[in-house]
């Protein structure tokens, strides 16, 4: 029999419903793996051992009572950006190192109500600002494929945990690539849904016109299954859309005959590692063999997405993070001289270098005399980028390209210059700027490291993304490969 930790959510769900395994057994198995690998990977900030075992016992009772539900009893990890009631929620920051959330995020509440068992809170870049997990106050996460390398970020803990089989699935968030980029670097499946699809209530804000909650799983099928539980209107989030949630699992197997795929010309540029490019082309060939047609598409304004993002995201971050004042919650400095000193030192000591860099960039671009030249200009270029995508989707169904320029880089390799780090998100930022859904699926290995293929669709086309990704995963086994030593 396959080891429990090797099973996908769909397989675990079946095993639970046929009573092949109990939820308590599952929780124990995954908690044991978390403990075994915590020191080596640092994927978790908080492990919820007692809570998980109690939740699992309740799930077993629900199953014994004959309750139906695909998620009942399935273990899951939450990125530590999602508030969990009565439990520490740190957002990877010293600022919130002792913050105990008084309420559950809607995502947490929905998964909990559906019977999922929370095993812990995953490590992340501080306030989700980073592409390598090196900005976490709780130390970097290591990539299970090579512990000398980064797992990507900001959802690096979630990606590493799922890749290392410490949890079958984890929640994550994506502002500029923070789900897809670590999923690609860790060889797992990462979905960033359409802006507004998943409630952000209780999800600590970074850049509000870009942030969206999503999932890191081992397969597209698992992502479809869990998104159905997480998504949907929430009156407590003013950006939540009032659209029904389709049955994402119902359309997974639709044939791809006639699917029109656009190859993103701008993504196959000189910055893309040639070996990674070849893996993407191999992946496209698998889809073509299933009847999809390929056509090169150009989005001429897309190369401006990084500079656009590094105005919009810091501007919104500087505004969102103004709430951390050392008064109502969070870190407070010792012996403040006066109120200004309390604000300045609490924030100066409570935030790490990257967060401060972004707050200052945002403060600068929003300051008197610069607003038009930077913020307004960036929002105009953003409209151009968005229009490029819209035009492309008149001709094609999905856009496909790489998720990242290279496989995982070494810890410390890009910390000296923030701009080098920022360019890591060059292929993922576009979908955030335009509010589009996108999924990254493993499509091969380069020098023993995973490569991700990114599929981007029009607004609310998650069903189509799952369908394409699932058909691809039926024909390939890259998503089933475990990092050496973690099988």
């Amino acid at each position: 029999m396959t080891a429990l930790h090797e099973l996908t959510v769909a397989e675990l769900s079946k095993a639970l419903r046929t009573r092949t395994v109990s939820s308590v057994e599952l929780a124990r198995a995954f908690l044991a793996r978390i403990e075994q690998h915590q020191q080596g990977l640092n994927a978790f900030i908080t492990v919820l051992r007692e809570e998980a075992l109690a939740e699992a016992a309740r799930a077993d009772a629900r199953l014994a009572a004959g309750e139906e539900g695909a998620v009942i009893g399935v273990p899951i990890a939450h990125k530590d950006i999602f508030c969990t009631r009565g439990q520490r929620t740190t957002c990877g920051s010293r600022m919130l190192a002792n913050f105990v959330s008084p309420y559950d995020a809607t995502v947490v509440e929905r998964l909990r109500a559906a019977g999922a068992v929370t095993v812990g809170k995953t490590n992340m870049d501080e306030f989700a600002m980073g592409s390598s997990n090196e900005t976490s106050y709780f130390g970097p996460v290591r990539n299970p494929w090579d512990p000398a390398r980064v797992p990507g970020g900001s959802s690096g803990g979630s990606a590493a945990a799922v890749a290392a089989r410490l949890a079958p699935a984890a929640t994550a968030t994506d502002t500029g690539g923070s789900i897809r980029q670590p999923a690609a670097l860790c060889g797992v499946t990462g979905l960033k849904p359409t802006y507004g699809r998943v409630s952000r209530f209780g999800m600590i804000a970074f850049a509000s016109s870009l942030d969206q909650g999503g999932l890191i799983t081992r397969s597209a099928e698992d992502s479809a299954l869990l998104l159905g539980t997480m998504a949907g209107f929430d009156e407590r989030d003013s950006t939540s859309v009032q659209l029904p949630v389709p049955d994402y699992c119902a359309t997974l197997e639709q044939p791809l005959k006639g699917l029109k795929i656009g190859l993103l010309k701008e993504f196959f540029d000189e910055g893309l590692d040639p070996d990674s490019a070849q893996r993407i082309r191999d992946g496209l060939e698998v889809l073509r063999e299933q009847g999809a047609t390929l056509k090169e598409v150009s989005l001429p304004n897309l190369p401006l997405s990084v500079p656009t993002y590094y105005v919009v995201a810091p501007a919104e971050c500087s505004s969102n993070l103004a709430r951390f004042d050392g008064v109502r919650y969070g870190y407070r400095c010792e012996n403040p001289r006066d109120l200004l000193d309390l604000y300045q030192r609490s924030r100066g000591e409570g935030f790490g270098a990257e967060v401060k860099r972004r707050i200052m960039t945002g403060t600068y671009v929003l300051s008197a005399g610069y607003y038009d030249a930077y913020y307004l200009k960036a929002q105009r270029v953003r409209a151009l980028i968005s229009a490029d995508f819209e035009r492309a989707f008149h001709e094609i169904d999905v856009l496909i390209g790489p998720t990242t320029p290279t496989p995982a880089f070494e810890i410390g390799a890009k910390t000296a210059d923030p701009v080098t780090m920022y360019l890591n998100d060059i292929y993922t930022i576009g979908a955030n700027l335009a509010g589009l859904p996108a999924i990254s699926v493993p499509c091969g290995l380069v020098r023993g490291l995973p490569v991700g293929m990114q599929i981007i669709g029009p607004h609310f086309s998650e069903s189509r993304l799952f369908n394409v990704a699932h058909r691809y995963q039926l024909e390939t086994d890259w998503h089933r490969r475990a990092p050496p030593g973690f099988a």
Partner: protein
């Protein structure tokens, strides 16, 4: 776009961030590099383009009725406060 030490001091004050002396040179350098990257935006002709206000076309921020919907949970919320007394948040004296 190059920033100098005075710019960084002014930005840090606006952002209410105390920087240590050793942090300042790195921020001068980093922010200058970031603003150089941002300078690429000038390449785009946006004279005929409206700034984007929402990532979803035609969507606007939903408003709710201005009604009290949440109960008083002061005690619960103040458990996370660094310093409270008699239900009040304590800060250094503001008025002499």
């Amino acid at each position: 776009m190059s920033l100098n030490r005075q710019d960084i001091d002014k930005i840090a004050l606006l952002a209410r961030l105390a920087l240590t002396e050793s942090e300042v040179p790195a921020y001068v350098e980093n922010l200058s590099r970031i603003m150089a990257l941002v300078g690429e935006l000038e390449r785009a002709d946006t004279s005929q383009v409206e700034p984007m206000a929402h990532p979803l076309p035609g969507q606007r921020q939903r408003l709710r009725a201005d009604e009290v919907t949440a109960g008083d949970q002061r005690e619960l919320f103040q458990r996370n406060a660094p310093q409270v007394e008699a239900g009040l948040y304590l800060v250094p004296r503001v008025l002499e």
